[in-house]
Symmetry: C2
Subunit: 206 residues, 2 copies
């Protein structure tokens, strides 16, 4: 049997763009995707289960993992650590499961460094689209306002450069379908498929 490895998909984008909503809707539709379980030092809340909601660790354990380069990404937030353990993700991928990571832009950049073979999807708000239209048409707004928006848009565009795909979140259903298309087509990328075939043939010859 040829074991196809899973793919790590990273969904990110500016805050407020609706990453969580898209991710939830995607998981309702696609049960094959594994959502990456985060690791944290904050104590479990009632009903939270270790290894399901989070991996709960002590501060010492977490810092040990950081030091040993065992985190794909992490952040310190209101006195606690949050992050994605490398081992868990790698195990899922090795088992042929796709892993889906929904994460803030800053965390996504860390993932890009530690896991460049991931597929990075940038979700942008439709307001940027609108802004784009406004910018190129003759504007009726004050020059300063246009300039500020332009600056913000540019910052977002620079973030884009780290990503493989850009999806406009105008309608959740459409955005989810587009992300599903990306998942599907990434599995047909020649690099991935050809490697499998070649491995299969080599195995026969040896």
């Amino acid at each position: 049997m040829i074991e196809e490895k899973g793919i790590l998909f990273i969904l990110s984008g500016p805050s407020g763009v609706g990453k969580g909503t898209v991710r939830k809707s995607l998981f309702d539709k696609d049960t094959d995707l594994k959502y990456s379980i985060s690791m944290t030092t904050r104590p479990p809340r009632e009903g939270e289960v270790d290894g399901v909601d989070y991996f709960f660790k002590t501060k010492e354990e977490f810092e040990d993992m950081i030091e040993n380069n065992k985190m794909i990404e992490y952040a310190h937030y209101v006195g606690n650590y949050y992050g994605t353990p490398k081992d868990y993700v790698q195990k899922q991928l090795d088992n042929g499961n796709d892993v889906f990571l929904e994460i803030e832009v800053q965390g996504a950049l860390q993932v890009k460094e530690n896991f460049p073979e991931g597929v990075f999807v940038f979700l942008i708000p439709p307001s940027l689209e609108e802004l784009k239209d406004r910018i190129i048409s003759r504007g009726t707004e004050t020059e300063e306002k246009v300039r500020n928006r332009l600056a913000a848009a540019k910052e977002e565009i620079e973030m884009m450069d780290y990503y493989d795909y850009v999806v406009v979140n105008d309608q959740i259903d459409t955005a989810v379908q587009t992300v599903q298309s990306i998942v599907r087509s990434e599995h047909c990328k020649r690099e991935r498929v050809a490697i499998q075939y070649k491995k299969a043939l080599e195995r026969d010859e040896s």
Copy 2:
């Protein structure tokens, strides 16, 4: 308005794999795609319309176009030329239409040379999949037969290297959906989207 350029998609694969069936089913579902109209020197049959079924040309006109590098690909077959005119494809792309080219492997390689920015999809038969399974399991066939199949599979795999995607045509509906996913996700590629945004912003500044 930002005009998004169309994308040239090339569907190819070994003969008999079902390229035509997949293409027809795709066009039934997706009316936005433009099927590339071929150019030929063979005389029109009854009911065939110039510019709809084919672009009909004389031998001299066709050879003139070959000489002036105006064909994306062409072949000589039973005394007549057949090929894809560059101008027609480029005009469709400039108008924002995706163009879909279903073509034999030899023609696809010509397209690759003349239009490397196209998206190349390789359709493979499920029998190659089966073969692959057979090769890695203990075979009951004669050694020679296995060796011949292996050789054929290898030739096909080498062709794969020129392509961006590999789609297994096990079920037509599934294959068509996969091709649709590829079309959709290619439009979200960051390189394409980012260029549009950057152009829009530059236009505003100038």
